[in-house]
């Protein structure tokens, strides 16, 4: 009986802590949005972050995208063959990538590579008192350090998702048309007939924008809130990757439910 009570108490305590943290994170988020003027006016700061978050993620995104596309083509062909519908491979490839795999997988990769880097960087700056030093020099660290990193990441994410999808389709084309020998004309024309710009591509872009905002918000917040020790920073980095990944998958479910069912689209 005592143990049960203690368990419920600790559970309530933890949930309370999580809710408090979410509130703090939200306040932080809105403060950062309000103070994003510097990041926009001195665009060079944001540009630097686009380089570190976006450009340096290019290789992993392009390579992963190509491989995912190639695997999709192989698996898809294998299954479609049984129904005699191998010309539908283009459709399968395009829809899977543009609607789901592009935003989601690119988002997960982005969270692990760029998100964790952002968290670690900010956490280390906090641990070595660079953030405090900036505050003492009357420069708002949230405007100068945090906001550019958020916007740099949020801008990079949709671009990376599009590049992932494009790389995937290219990879699938290589395997499907060049290697397996599906008719090239059928491949592209069926794809074009089935993929609707408004419904599929725009929705996919919206997803990647939402994921980008979520991942970058989590990344900068965890970095800013990290305890200023080695374990603190490493814990924060892990939390960024885990929380971002869960957030992406959960948001994907919510967005997909809104966008692709009920026959209402946009």
């Amino acid at each position: 009986m005592q143990a049960l009570r203690a368990f419920i108490e600790s559970l309530g305590h933890r949930v309370n802590g999580m809710v408090l943290r979410l509130g703090f994170a939200s306040r932080f988020f809105f403060y950062m949005l309000l103070h994003s003027g510097t990041a926009m006016r001195r665009f060079r700061l944001t540009l630097r972050e686009i380089y570190f978050a976006g450009v340096l993620s290019l290789i992993i995104i392009l390579v992963s995208g190509t491989f995912v596309g190639m695997v999709l083509a192989l698996q898809g062909y294998e299954t479609l063959q049984r129904f005699g519908s191998t010309e539908a491979l283009g459709i399968l490839l395009a829809l899977s990538l543009v609607r789901e795999l592009g935003p989601v997988v690119a988002g997960l990769l982005f969270a692990s590579r760029a998100g964790s880097a952002i968290t670690a960087e900010i956490g280390l700056m906090k641990a070595t008192e660079q953030i405090a030093a900036m505050e003492m020099m009357a420069v708002d660290p949230i405007a100068r350090v945090i906001a550019p990193r958020f916007w740099g990441g949020a801008i990079s994410m949709p671009l990376l998702a599009a590049l992932f999808s494009a790389a995937g389709i290219f990879g699938g084309y290589l395997i499907g048309v060049q290697l397996i020998g599906i008719d090239e004309g059928a491949f592209w024309s069926q794809m074009q007939a089935a993929v609707d710009v408004r419904k599929d591509i725009v929705n996919g872009v919206i997803k990647s924008v939402v994921f980008g905002i979520a991942v970058c918000w989590i990344a900068v917040f965890e970095g800013y809130d990290a305890p200023p020790t080695a374990e603190g920073v490493s814990g924060a980095t892990t939390r960024t990757v885990v929380t971002s990944s869960l957030a992406i998958l959960a948001l994907d479910f919510v967005l997909t439910a809104f966008m692709f069912t009920g026959g209402n689209g946009l």
Binding site: R44, L47, R48, I50, Y51, G54, V55, L58, A94, V98, S156, P158, L159, L160, A162, L163, S165, A166, I169, W188, M191, Q192, A193, V195, D196, V197, R198, K199, D200, I201, V205, G263, N264, G265
Partner: protein, 157 residues
Amino acid sequence: MNRSIMDLWVGVFAAAGLLALLFLALKVGNLASFSTSQTYAVEVRFGNIGGLKVRAPVKSAGVVVGRVARIGFDSDSYKAVVTLNMDGAYRFPSDSSAKILTAGLLGEQYIGIEAGGDSAMLKGGDRIRLAQDAVVLENLIGQFMTSQAANGKGASK
């Protein structure tokens, strides 16, 4: 980090990303859908729409000429009320007929329009009078079985 090199790479990255988006929009999707063209709304009533969904295509002679905008129900006549957004570029005579067809054997359902012969054209708000319901597989099988049973009885007698 040299500034101009960084600028260069960010520029390349942004350009590549936008190109990818463009590629997806043009080569992969059907950008030539009538998001920009004018449409007029036309109503049809069906006894059974089967698996017809909103945003299903409306085709005539196999070409997409419109989209299903809304599906409703009339509680007076107990019929399905389907509203079609027709592409303004194509006009149909007011005695055209609408059928619910299936793409392939087990595919999506869509609406097929067959042009009539009237000189007056359909305009926004009009109703298509001639409508053929969707083919419901169970009813078809039921009919088949009944006709087989009748044939069998007749033959054996």
